[in-house]
């Protein structure tokens, strides 16, 4: 059976991991490659690297990092942040990235999704959607949830699927950072609405939150950062617990 996936997300600035990472056995916790290797070793199913560099130089170091990850890590990984053209994606895939994630650039110019899926195949096009509830409606936001758009989450999800997205990474800005659980109601609705995999993001705090998002939320994968980076939820134990709850995982 196809398993549910556990995906640690690493924020990268100028080629280094930014959020504090408290990981045993790491010589250099700021080195994304070291961290990625460790995650692959302990059973992460995929990795996401999110480039939050604000400068062009910072972005250039990303290519070098992607190349080093591809050299040394034997599980798939996605690269996101600041990607706005076919050339950007071509460069990253040539460095060895398996998938790319686009967000604002897709909202600003939805045809980018078509161009990427036609040129590289849907399998490598992840569309990240950040949304929060305004007056009971899930509205898409940009720039880490600070800029609201007029797009409804579910309409936008339908549209990105029809334009050729291979996967949706949905972050609930209402849940992100709360450690109070994923946005399972919205996730379940998304999963029923589109026929491509959904990655749940925002709200992971306990093992039960992962159980809930795979059962109640119908998510295909769950992404988290700090609970993994600080060892609050060790991935091997998380996966054992998921299996104890009859959720198919790779052990």
């Amino acid at each position: 059976m196809l398993t549910k996936r556990i995906i640690p997300c690493l924020d990268i600035k100028n080629g280094r991991t930014v959020k504090g990472v408290n990981f045993v056995n790491l010589i250099d916790a700021g080195d994304p490659v070291e961290l990625a290797k460790q995650y692959a070793e302990i059973g992460a199913d995929e990795l996401v690297f999110l480039d939050i560099s604000a400068t062009l130089e910072g972005r250039k170091t990303m290519h070098d990092m992607v190349l080093r990850v591809a050299e040394q890590v034997n599980i798939p990984f996605t690269v996101g942040g600041g990607i706005s053209s076919v050339e950007d994606v071509d460069d990253l895939l040539h460095c060895g990235a398996d998938k790319v994630s686009i967000n604002s650039s897709a909202v600003k110019r939805p045809a980018l999704i078509n161009e990427l899926s036609q040129k590289f195949g849907s399998q490598c096009v992840v569309v990240a959607i950040d949304a929060k509830q305004l007056d009971g409606k899930w509205m898409v936001h940009l720039a880490g949830g600070t800029i609201p758009t007029k797009l409804d989450l579910f309409d936008w999800a339908k549209e990105v699927e029809s334009r050729g997205a291979g996967e949706i990474l949905f972050t609930s800005m209402d849940h992100d950072g709360t450690k109070a659980g994923f946005a399972n109601e919205a996730l379940a609705k998304l999963s029923a609405l589109v026929n491509i995999p959904i990655i749940a993001s925002g709200g992971a705090g306990t093992v039960k939150h992962f159980v809930d998002t795979f059962t109640l939320g119908k998510s295909d994968a769950a992404l988290a950062a700090s609970v993994f980076h600080f060892g609050e939820i060790p991935i091997p134990e998380l996966k054992k617990e998921l299996r104890n709850n009859n959720i198919e995982v790779r052990l």
């Binding site: 059976m1 196809l2 398993t3 034997n74 798939p76 398996d98 195949g121 849907s122 399998q123 995999p197």
Partner: protein, 193 residues
């Protein structure tokens, strides 16, 4: 050991090259027919869309050469699908090495299948040291039908051939280069053939 990865413009060739490098083997990327013919082992990769990949093979004459190769050839993902008779993707005629049709998953499941799934009914030296509890990483919307040439099976929507073999030709639907230690074992087994 001269290992050549066929470079015809389709796919995540770099990841495959890196995976062999981790096993201590420097693979050569090449579209040169003489170089391919002179290799000890050959990888036939592929990611993307079937009809355009087939077009690229025809333009370089590789569609004629690949079926005549005598050394072990491993097709990966779309590479394996192109080694079959035909695929529903773009109604494309394949290389006809495997007497198998490639079909699209139904709408009963999410398409593409993306993630880790088990391979079972393992019937080849390619899977030496592996069991039906080993997971492989797969990303695909089309699948090869089961046949007498199946050497591994996977279930998603239907039970299909996740690996095929005929004589010196091997094909795997999954990405061994992205499937952790189990995947690396398969690549090592291929080198050992």
């Amino acid at each position: 050991m001269k290992l050549v990865i066929i470079d015809y413009g389709a796919g995540n060739i770099k990841s495959i090259q890196f995976a062999f490098k981790r096993l201590g083997v420097d693979a050569i990327l090449s579209s040169n027919i003489e170089e391919i013919k002179g290799a000890d082992k050959i990888i036939f990769p592929g990611v993307g869309e079937a009809s355009s990949a087939m077009k690229m093979l025809k333009e370089s004459g590789l569609d004629i050469i690949i079926p005549t190769l005598k050394q072990p050839v491993l097709g990966i993902c779309l590479g394996m699908q192109l080694m079959c008779n035909q695929t529903e993707e773009g109604n494309t005629q394949g290389l006809g090495i495997f007497d198998v049709t490639v079909k699209k998953f139904s709408k009963d499941v999410k398409v593409p299948q993306m993630g880790w799934n088990t391979i079972t009914n393992l019937q080849s030296d390619l899977f030496e040291g592996l069991t039906d509890k080993d997971y492989m990483y797969l990303v695909h919307s089309y699948y090869a039908e089961n046949s007498s040439e199946s050497i591994a099976k996977t279930t998603y929507d239907v039970e299909y051939a996740s690996a095929l073999q005929k004589d010196n030709f091997y094909g795997v639907q999954f990405h061994p280069e992205k499937s952790g230690k189990s995947g690396e074992r398969i690549l090592q087994n291929f080198l050992n053939l």
